[in-house]
């Protein structure tokens, strides 16, 4: 050892991995996240990639990133400004260094800082040598050279060797943050099991990175991050929101005693749900439909046939599905619609997150067309809210829209895999008795109609898109009947409010400001309000998972606080809804940049509201 290495203990670390779209930053980030999860840390991650598959290499437009927040406490988001940046080329430094904390670490691939790449990144001269990065601690590693030395003797081309450089970075990072490389080695053994030379090369590169960090004396510091304590025992898994939705659908189908059917069409950022489910034919029948419309249409057909049916999409897909949504409301069949929201309107920002489909979910159909709208708060909650959606859909014979967000669907965290007995009961009841059967008779409590499935002897009946006669379900153009049925449909959905648990408020009863969000702003709102509370600001927060109907106690909750602030990734859709429902004034803070709030932005807005 050539110099003194100090060890510093941290509660929370944010690391950004940045490089060319083809540099494997996502995989590198994933592997480091897994290593951290295995050390017992809470983890929360988000990828950040351009919508082009491979934008021109080395350019600013081609930089893709992966951000990880890990630590022992307060890990609610993938983090704001980062503590460390791993940058594979000058463009990555250019794009990502503005969000690095002052005094933060940059680990760069020194080999990439040549004249060509500097030019592509639009650097006039080398920031590594001209002092342009002086407010950071820069650690230069010749990643390509180290990889070349490490893999000598393996039959790989120069290009293939170069592609091992991210494992050099990973090895060095594992050393720096005291992560064992065992888990990473296991992970790559699985990943490259059919490419033994690549496997050997990547393991060698990983070890070379670690050894370099330990021996070469580049680092004067290393970190220790204690595990999170007090977590519930069980089996855990690192899971994205999209895969969590897929698991939620599978689990709900089993709990309901029906088979799962998915009719879907690929669309960013929701495609992973479809992909995940196609892997599991034992658990689900999947139709990759010819378009978004056929996706939901096939799901409705399957629902008529007794399936727990779902369709998964993003905003533009919901636009296409909206006529079928109206049919599902008219037919009163259970259906789960997942909308992983992205930036709109139109094609908009396909890979970026937003919350701008709330109005569409609640109001976006012709006619009086009420349905249930739920929203997921975290990647983990994508599982729970999907199960809840299926439960309500079956119990009330209604379509349910689940709003998740790009950042939740692509984001990941550690998830405790539930046991089936821990999930809510939701057994589907199919009508079998022909005696007194009418397709549109209703349960007194839920107002749900019976689920009568083709193939059942004696229940042959016709349903359709024309207005139904009360009870018999025959087509009817009677004016009073139409009003009766319209009100039934509205009352049925409104009645679901009684299922919603009391709103959980975090913060003092005498808070001066109440921060109210919905969906994926949960993490950052929690972080911001906890920070405010630490600074002595009397603030409370809550986020909604039920948007239609709204929680029955919400009005009284809002009335308790002198000021209410609603942060959203749109221009004020929940804000409009709350004001129109309750005639209560609220303040708003909005961000439509395709990226999440920083906690600081919400903290500043709260302080401004309080005149502080």
């Amino acid at each position: 050892m050539t110099n003194q290495v100090n060890t510093k203990e941290l509660n929370k670390v944010v690391i950004r991995f940045a490089g060319d779209s083809g540099d494997g930053m996502l995989m590198t980030g994933d592997q480091f996240t897994m290593a951290s999860a295995f050390m017992g840390n809470d983890v929360c991650t988000i990828p950040d990639y351009p919508s082009e598959i491979r934008a021109p290499a080395g350019t600013v437009a081609g930089v893709s990133g992966f951000q990880l927040c890990f630590g022992s406490e307060g890990i609610y988001t993938p983090g704001d400004k980062y503590d460390a940046l791993v940058a594979m080329n000058p463009a990555a430094v250019k794009v990502s260094s503005p969000h690095l904390k002052d005094g933060g670490l940059i680990i760069v691939n020194e080999d990439s800082f040549n004249a060509k790449n500097l030019k592509k990144a639009e650097y006039a001269d080398n920031p590594l040598t001209n002092g342009g990065l002086s407010k950071f601690r820069v650690y230069k590693i010749a990643m390509v050279k180290l990889a070349q030395e490490a893999v000598v003797g393996l039959p790989l081309t120069g290009k293939q060797v170069e592609r091992c450089k991210n494992f050099v970075a990973l090895g060095a990072l594992c050393w720096l943050y005291g992560r064992s490389t065992d888990q990473t080695i296991k992970g790559i053994q699985k990943r490259f099991k059919n490419k033994p030379d690549f496997l050997k090369a990547n393991i060698a590169a990983l070890q070379a990175g670690w050894n370099f960090a330990e021996k070469a004396g580049v680092f004067d510091i290393k970190y220790k991050v204690k595990p999170t304590t007090g977590k519930k025992p069980g089996t855990y898994r690192y899971i994205t929101g999209n895969v969590a939705v897929a698991m939620g659908l599978v689990a709900a189908a089993r709990k309901s005693g029906t088979r799962l059917f998915l009719g879907s069409y690929p669309i960013t950022p929701a495609t992973e749900i479809l992909q995940e489910l196609t892997n599991h034919p034992k658990f689900v029948t999947v139709l990759q439909a010819e378009d978004e419309i056929a996706g939901i249409g096939s799901a409705i057909g399957a629902a008529f046939g007794g399936a727990l049916a779902a369709t998964t999409t993003s905003g533009p897909g919901v636009s296409l599905k909206s006529e079928f949504l109206g049919l599902a409301v008219m037919l009163e069949l259970p259906l789960v619609i997942i909308n992983v929201q992205r930036g709109g309107p139109s094609t908009g920002l396909p890979t970026k997150t937003e919350q701008s489909d709330l109005f569409q979910a609640i109001y976006g159909r012709h006619g009086e067309c009420p349905l249930v709208v739920l929203a997921a708060a975290t990647p983990n909650d994508c599982f729970d809210i999907t199960v809840e959606a299926a439960r309500l859909a079956i119990k009330y014979m209604t379509p349910v829209i689940v709003l998740t967000e790009g950042a939740l669907g692509q984001g990941a965290e550690a998830w405790r895999v539930p046991k089936m007995h821990e999930l809510p009961e939701m057994k589907a009841v199919f009508r079998t008795n022909p005696e007194g059967f009418f397709p549109y008779s209703r349960d007194k409590n839920t107002l749900a109609r019976p689920w009568a499935v083709p193939g059942t002897i004696g229940l042959e009946h016709r349903i359709g898109s024309l207005e139904k006669e009360d009870i018999t379900g025959a087509t009817s153009h009677d004016p009073l009947n139409h009003e009766t049925m319209t009100r039934y449909r509205a009352d049925k959905i409104a009645g679901i409010a009684k299922e919603i648990p009391p709103t959980v408020i975090h913060g003092p009863a005498d808070a001066k400001v109440f921060v109210l969000g919905w969906g994926g702003t949960r993490g950052v709102i929690q972080l911001a309000v906890e920070n405010l509370q630490k600074q002595g600001v009397k603030a409370a927060w809550s986020t909604l998972r039920h948007l239609s109907p709204l929680p029955p106690d919400l009005k009284s909750v809002i009335q308790r606080y002198p000021k209410v602030l609603i942060p959203e990734y749109n221009l004020g859709q929940l804000w409009t809804l709350i004001r129109s429902e309750y005639l209560i004034n609220c303040e708003k803070i909005n961000k439509v940049q395709g990226r999440p709030f920083q906690a600081e932005e919400i903290e500043t807005a709260v302080k401004k509201l309080l005149g502080a």
Binding site: M34, A37, K186, G187, K231, P233, G234, T235, Y236, R237, Y238, M247, V250, A251, R254, G257, R259, F261, G263, K282, F283, T285, L287, A289, E290, I293, A294, G295, I296, G297, S298, A299, I300, G301, A302, F304, G305, G306, A307, A309, E323, G326, L327, V417, P418, K419, M420, H421, P454, G455, I457, L459, E460, H461, R462, I463, G464, S465, L466, T475
Partner: protein, 342 residues
């Protein structure tokens, strides 16, 4: 059970709702023949489902005493697909029209044909929009005046049967409302076919497009203008069975027996030909340049999409699936972390 099935009659399949089609509409004939065909298929009544979209023909489900689904415009195909994929033991039928199935539902139509899900599609082609009262449809012929083509249609019409065959339909047939026995024969064959079955029915809309198929359906002239396709038999037609159809290169061509050749030179119809080209060529024959074939064009056996059922997974299997993905770990009561064996 088998006995009970045999006792089913046409009446068992009528819902009792009086059809609201215009008197003289060809849809009535098809309803008659379809309800006569269902009892012959040996399938219990509760297993039949008729799915439709929107339009005159899409009222079909209401008149059948089976399960029925009257959907939205153009979208019967996806609904039927989801239903059949989830319940492979149902007999799923689709009633659609030239507007519903080919205009607004055109994309679904192509994919329904190619996927080979075991669904029977009856497309009522009257070359007009009936329920919206007389606008041009994708199959309206050039020159025909409708409410939206007041100077005569200038668009080249769509040809449903060649489209279905080119899209991969494993069963394709054409019938008309003027030949009830052929309707029964084709519906029965379609009902027994494993895979997608497409049947184009030429329907006379007496209100908005009366006489559109007169040359093919009028008992006084039709023999000279149509060919009844029969598997394994040469293509011979005409009042006196004095004309044949042969291939001239890739073009089907009419000839007079004697002068142009004998019956041996006529094309022999083979519905099981794995090559769909001859069926496509026959389907493309149009009046008045050629005689128009009716009957079964194609019936081949191909793997049926989604015809399998899976046993329900157990709680343990679902829990195991949720833990999979190659990235799970175990946290014990003392906070120790261990790996999970996959």
């Amino acid at each position: 059970m088998n006995n009970e099935q045999q006792q089913l009659t046409r009446k068992d399949f009528l819902s009792g709702t009086e059809p609201k089609w215009c008197p003289g509409c060809g849809c009535n004939v098809v309803l008659n023949r379809l309800t006569g065909t269902f009892p012959l298929l040996g399938i219990p009544k509760e297993k039949f489902v008729m799915v439709s979209g929107i339009g005159c023909s899409s009222r079909f489900p209401y008149y059948l005493n089976t399960y029925g689904f009257h959907g939205i415009h153009g979208r019967a195909a996806p609904v039927a697909s989801g239903l059949k994929l989830h319940n492979p033991d149902l007999s799923v039928w689709v009633a659609t029209g030239d507007g519903d199935g080919l205009a607004i539902g055109g994309n679904h139509f192509i994919h329904l044909m190619r996927r080979n899900v075991d669904i029977k599609v009856v497309l009522f082609n009257n070359q007009i929009y009936g329920l919206t009262k007389g606008q041009a449809s994708p199959t309206t012929q050039v020159g025909v005046k409708t409410k939206t083509t007041p100077f005569g249609s200038e668009e080249i019409p769509m040809r449903p049967l060649p489209l279905a065959i080119a899209s991969g339909a494993t069963f394709a047939a054409r019938i008309s409302d003027s030949d009830p026995d052929l309707i029964s024969e084709v519906l029965l064959a379609a009902g027994k076919h494993k895979g997608i079955a497409f049947i184009e029915v030429m329907i006379n809309c007496i209100i908005f497009n009366d006489g559109a198929f007169k040359a093919l359906t009028d008992i006084n002239v039709r023999a000279e203008n149509i060919i009844r396709l029969k598997h394994g038999e040469p293509l011979i037609y005409g009042t006196n069975k004095d004309k044949g159809v042969k291939l001239n290169g890739v073009r089907p061509e009419s000839f007079k027996l004697g002068a142009g050749g004998n019956a041996d030179s006529a094309l022999v119809h083979d519905i099981h030909n794995p090559d769909s080209t001859p069926a496509y060529l026959l389907a493309s024959m149009e009046h008045p340049s050629s005689p128009v074939p009716f009957g079964i064009f194609r019936q081949v056996s191909k793997p049926v999409y989604g015809d399998r059922t899976m046993p329900a997974p157990s709680d343990t299997e679902v829990e195991k699936l949720m833990m999979s993905g190659g990235n799970s770990w175990q946290l014990d009561d003392s906070g120790n972390i261990g790996t999970v064996d996959p």
